[in-house]
């Protein structure tokens, strides 16, 4: 298919960028919530919360950004996707509400702390699961009259599996974040969980890839038709390579206390970047499969694009503010760089 350089394509890429940023950033902080039940003491929970309390709001803003870019640049797709996924979206929002307020209330509570722990863990898990569920359903494709049916088409074995896979992926990102932000036993624990989660994530990626290629002839043709496979082979190869390195890094961090691994052989920040790389590769793979559809096999980005007057109006804003946002977000992370300290900090 011909790739036409157009405003629509630019906005598709921007949307992709927003989604990727959201998945990476909110991914690790939702992941902290998913991992939460596997940590037991109050001190550990305090540490987990403190590691993300200053960034969760900014991270979640990427979800709103993705939503409004879809709304402004592809109104027809925004209308179709959001109303089609009515229940998963509502449930995701409810999940995000509970985990969002838990940050503020948990640190101010005495007797109700355990309820806020529950709200944080369950809310994060529910939100991540719903996102995976929608992703799975999108890849599968939806029938045209879906919105009118009271059936639950998004409840298929495949979409449920994707829901769990996304939870595992977010939890992996969180483990890598913790390896970077904590030390001692908690870091070891995160590295150990990270290794297991990595295996689960790789297995899920393999299964999802095979499943889609098997079920969807269009996706099969995209990957294996003509010379495509040759161009696309770096994606799976690089993924395996990244996973291999990540597994080794996590193993070193995990063993470092017992085996006295020399500090310079222990990478504490690299795992996070490797895991992000893995997400990037998976995301590109997804794009290859569904391009040019926003709602697979129903609505392409060209069909859904807003009139040029709207697309052009947003351009200056994007070119000025997106780099600015990236800059001060990075600054914010820098201010809180280094390990999370366990003394009461803040207001």
């Amino acid at each position: 298919m011909e790739l036409e350089l157009s405003l629509g394509l630019f906005y598709l890429l921007l949307l992709g960028f927003a989604i990727l940023m959201y998945v990476l950033l909110d991914g690790f902080d939702l992941g902290i919530g998913i991992l939460y039940p596997w940590f037991n003491t109050d001190a550990e929970h305090d540490h987990l919360m403190r590691s993300i309390a200053h960034v969760w709001d900014g991270n979640e803003t990427w979800l709103v950004f993705g939503g409004v870019i879809l709304f402004g640049a592809f109104p027809a797709a925004y209308a179709a996707i959001t109303s089609t996924f009515y229940l998963p979206i509502i449930l995701m929002l409810i999940g995000l509400i509970f985990r969002g307020v838990a940050f503020e209330y948990r640190f101010k509570s005495d007797t109700s702390k355990r309820y806020w722990n529950m709200a944080f863990a369950a809310g994060s898990s529910l939100a991540a699961f719903c996102q995976g569920l929608m992703l799975g359903t999108l890849v599968q494709g939806v029938p045209a009259d879906f919105i009118n049916q009271s059936s639950f088409n998004w409840l298929s074995p495949f979409s449920l599996f994707c829901g769990l896979a996304v939870m595992a992926g977010y939890a992996l990102l969180a483990c890598c974040y913790l390896v970077m932000k904590s030390r001692g036993e908690l870091q070891q624990k995160a590295a150990r969980y990270g290794q297991r989660l990595l295996l689960m994530v790789m297995l899920s990626m393999l299964l999802v890839s095979l499943w889609t290629v098997w079920i969807e002839p269009e996706i099969r043709a995209r990957w294996f038709g003509g010379w495509h496979a040759l161009w696309l082979i770096p994606l799976p190869l690089l993924s395996v390579l990244a996973a291999r390195l990540l597994f080794r890094d996590l193993g070193r961090v995990h063993r470092s206390l017992q085996a006295e691994t020399a500090v310079h052989e222990r990478h504490e920040e690299r795992p996070f970047w490797l895991a992000s790389g893995l997400f990037l590769l998976a995301f590109v793979g997804l794009l290859v499969s569904v391009f040019p559809y926003l709602l697979p096999r129903q609505l392409t980005y060209m069909q859904a694009a807003a009139p040029d007057s709207s697309l052009i109006f947003m351009l200056p804003g994007i070119f000025i503010f997106v780099p600015l946002i990236c800059a001060y977000t990075l600054w914010g992370y820098k201010i809180f760089a280094g390990k999370v300290e366990d003394y009461q900090e803040g207001y």
Partner: protein
């Protein structure tokens, strides 16, 4: 009973947006107040200002958090429940909201982390900068969302192509006729709301005999603010009303309870019960000619009434009528408080007048109630149109099964009721706990917890774990 998905979706949106607006109405003003206190502290070095900022930043944080989570819901609800609306008007409203996210949401979120948690990691001036940025972010956010809302009230700058809106002039869309008035009115409303939340709390401390110095400082400042802001708001509100008369005469007729097609020497109704079936009012208590005088500056001035349009083009009159009276009533009450406060201050008995402090300490929610009532006038008054005069609300709802919307509505009602209770509980807890003593704040400024300490501490650790050194910091 047959469930109507259109009604359910509208109730859900009304409920979720009403819940949401409570929090930004408070945080817009509170962020500004905190920035003012921090600035005054930096300028004068008076620790009382730091105490005010440090105390109010906690209620601010939980209020802001509630605003964030309830706001995300709205950015998706346009699509989930009003898919046809987002499809036909997305090209106009989507970009406005994209600008809101680009210029405001990220700004607030990016600097909020530093504002709340950065006291020990950045210098005092940098912290002040972060606070100011958060405050400015809330104003910018209000600007864009009011622009979008006002375009739905007084649309211009667009053309309709194949049933969908396309923009011809973005300047006309953003600066549509009602936008400057609504924006000013709303921003003032937010400042006043926060002013009265703070004023009530400080009056409560004085009345209870706790934190006297702190209580006086806050009450005194807030009464000054109220003395300036509340009369100003009455004036801006009047201008806004004249704007409504010009661009949305039917809404104005509902606000004033005017039925006749054309009426001159219109009385100002202090009370009445509008009856939509009988097309008239019961139990009128009126001041003759005053509505004409206010709205046309002439006792004999002529105003357009509800009967000038067919019944299906009229909003729900009693709701608009009563909401408007509640808003204006609270406004008058606030002006009264500001004036009495000024008089008592002049007499020198302000802090001892318990008969005054008592009612004031119960006025914390009045600002929020007035804001809600005002928005009901705006939104219900626009009905039956979603885009005034062009698109009817009933035509643009998502064709969802009604049970599904009933389910989500139930979920929102349960969740929000629970959270609202929790919010009030923690607000009460924070207020009962009171401010940190000034001595403690001074202590935090030196030694271990001084600004920048944590940053240099972690930097020192980072150099310890440098590859060149062989020993880890663990």
């Amino acid at each position: 009973m047959e469930l109507d998905v259109s009604i359910l979706s509208r109730i859900q949106f009304a409920f979720t947006v009403s819940f949401h607006i409570i929090f930004p109405s408070i945080t817009i003003g509170l962020a500004t107040l905190i920035a003012i206190w921090e600035g005054l502290w930096l300028k004068t070095g008076n620790p009382q200002y730091l105490q005010l900022a440090k105390f109010w930043i906690k209620p601010f944080a939980i209020t802001f958090g509630m605003g964030v989570v309830s706001g995300i819901v709205l950015s998706y609800e346009f699509g989930t429940n009003f898919s046809k609306f987002s499809e036909i008007a997305g090209a106009v409203l989507g970009p406005l909201m994209a600008y809101e996210v680009l210029t405001a949401f990220f700004l607030e979120a990016g600097f909020l982390g530093v504002m709340l948690f950065g006291w020990q990691r950045v210098s005092a001036k940098m912290h002040f900068f972060a606070t100011v940025t958060v405050a400015v972010g809330t104003w910018i956010s209000a600007f864009w969302i009011i622009a979008a809302n006002s375009w739905m009230q007084t649309p211009q700058g667009h053309q309709i192509v194949d049933g969908k809106f396309e923009v011809v002039s973005w300047f006309d869309v953003i600066f549509n006729p009602s936008m400057p008035y609504r924006f000013t009115h709303m921003l003032l409303a937010a400042f006043i709301t926060a002013t009265f939340v703070v004023m009530a709390t400080h009056a409560w401390y004085l009345r209870k005999g706790q934190h006297q110095e702190f209580g006086r400082k806050g009450l005194s400042m807030m009464l000054w603010f109220a003395l300036v802001l509340t009369p100003l708001q009455a004036w801006v509100g009047d201008l806004h009303g004249l704007n409504v008369k010009e661009h949305q005469p039917v809404k104005l007729a509902a606000m004033e309870g005017i039925w006749a097609e054309k009426e001159s020497n219109v009385p100002l109704l202090l009370f009445a019960v509008p009856d939509m079936k009988a097309e008239g009012n019961h139990y009128e208590v009126a001041i003759p000619g005053l509505a004409s005088l206010i709205l046309t500056h002439d006792w004999q001035g002529e105003l357009q009434g509800l009967k000038s349009v067919p019944p299906e083009d009229r909003p729900h009159v009693p709701m608009v009528f009563f909401s408007f009276r509640i808003m204006v009533g609270i406004g008058v009450l606030m002006i009264g408080v500001a004036l009495i406060g000024a008089y008592l201050r002049w007499r020198g008995t302000l802090y001892q007048s318990h008969w005054f402090l008592l009612p004031v300490s119960f006025m914390a929610p009045t600002g929020v109630i007035a804001v809600l009532a005002g928005w009901y006038v705006v939104e219900i008054g626009r009905q039956p149109w979603i885009i005034y005069g062009l698109v009817r609300t009933s035509e643009i709802v998502s064709p969802l099964p009604a049970e599904r919307v009933l389910f989500s509505l139930t979920l929102f009602v349960l969740t929000y009721s629970l959270l609202f209770g929790v919010y009030l509980y923690f607000m009460r807890k924070l207020i009962k706990k009171g401010p940190a003593p000034i001595e403690q704040l001074e202590q935090q400024r030196i030694g271990v917890k001084a600004s920048g300490y944590a940053l240099s501490f972690t930097k020192a650790l980072a150099t310890d774990t440098d590859p060149s050194s062989t020993k880890g910091a663990n």
